[in-house]
Symmetry: C3
Subunit: 192 residues, 3 copies
């Protein structure tokens, strides 16, 4: 029986990583040991092992074909990890760039990853804005709540496409202020 | 000339099956004889003919690879039915499961089905909630209107992905309370 | 280094073509010479060169397989144009037809086009309705603001699917009344 591969996504500030860490900790007490990996980190490791880069800043300077090849290799590497343990991939459904929303898991990555479940952690644009303000983000980086909601809209579209291409389910989990435990419980129900 | 293959989808309680039956009845009077099939039923027939299951409850216990193979065979079988008559497939764009929204027509099924039109039957979350209440659904199964609307959102995303992958059009038909006839008329205009 | 291939989409009346023309004009002054093509026009040229049609009205009468082949050839032709200059394709994310929303760039076209950026030009349903009224559109062609917003919703879904299939970014640009220059500036930032 194959171990689960779960992808956890969410806009910056929504608290996806916190939620995931809490869920993993709770599962450990029950003897379920998820391995948590960050997609970008695995990509960097692959590129470094091929002597293509020395630090993470150099990653974005790779030519598109090399980047695509590294992405595929990272996808395969993560997929192979499920031989030993269930895996959670911490990543983004789409990344907001000056050129627009970049899909975090383009088709060639999905084909390698073959995920079971894609989780989208969401809350209202207002709550995300307040959390980002609290984070001490510099003002010029702040998006309006309208823009945050647009980002979350596109994340749903991308995630559902990931589901259609792979057969994975798409689980939307709300991470509301003061209701962290509810979010953790929901995530746990999916990971078990 | 190939007969039409139309897929009719909608969340539970929206009335997609009723709408379809009424449209088929009306078309029969005009000498157009659509065959209506339920995707899940065809899958069960395929699995049964291979002696994999005896009753429908056993379907979900099939291992994922077998399930995928059965899905493909069901898709092919339905596609072949269009040799004799136009076909309507009664199914769901996504199915809400505890693990998240499961795409009703993952890529490998679409590749076999090759549909012409994907219909989404919709109405407001409020109306769907009231219909489910009227259905005598048990309370614990009831979703909030917000959750129903989230489900409809994801159904649109999935259906549009089906369209991009196959070239099918995606038709949204409203099935509002007391306006059933309007919904039937709209569906008829697509089926003719 | 490959020249950029940018696809600009938007519902009728949103002003995508105007925005694109203004941006191209501004770039010309900076020595950046984008070629602007209309996807439908290229398709027609391809079909005409094969003696399949004589005028554009005949395009929709082509059988589906021929249409698909012409679409692919048009996609390849546009992609090849980027050898000489950066290219903007003026088209639609989805086309509203009586049979539903038809994807403007189905999978087989995307595979040929391989775009870098997909732009969606948007504004509110109200503003689009007012612009269409001002255009002298005949009343019977007018959609309600609700229907325009539904169309924009499906355009986002389709565009994000295009992104996942190709790795292109999806950029949403607002073209608000009296704020044309802001829209042009945003488009310029993507084209440069």
């Amino acid at each position: 029986m194959k171990n689960k591969l779960v992808i956890v996504t969410g806009v910056p500030g929504v608290g996806g990583t916190t939620l995931t860490e809490k869920a993993i900790e709770a599962l450990k007490k029950e003897g379920i040991n998820y391995k948590m990996v960050n997609f970008g980190t695995i990509m960097f490791e692959v590129a470094k092992s091929e002597n293509l880069v020395e630090d993470r800043d150099q990653m974005r300077k790779l030519d598109p074909d090399t980047q695509k090849r590294i992405q595929k290799m990272a996808g395969r590497k993560i997929s192979e990890m499920t031989a030993d343990a269930p895996v959670i991939v911490d990543t983004h459904s789409t990344i907001k760039t000056p050129m627009g929303y970049l899909p975090g898991l383009p088709k060639w990555v999905l084909d390698e990853l073959n995920p079971d479940i894609i989780v989208i952690v969401e809350t209202t644009g207002d709550e995300i804005l307040m959390r980002r303000l609290g984070d001490g983000s510099r003002n010029r980086d702040l998006e309006s709540t309208g823009n945050i909601e647009e980002h979350q809209f596109m994340n749903r579209c991308a995630a559902m496409t990931y589901g259609v291409l792979t057969g994975a389910t798409v689980k939307i989990i709300k991470n509301r202020d003061k209701l962290l435990e509810e979010g953790v419980e929901e995530l746990l129900s999916v990971l078990k």
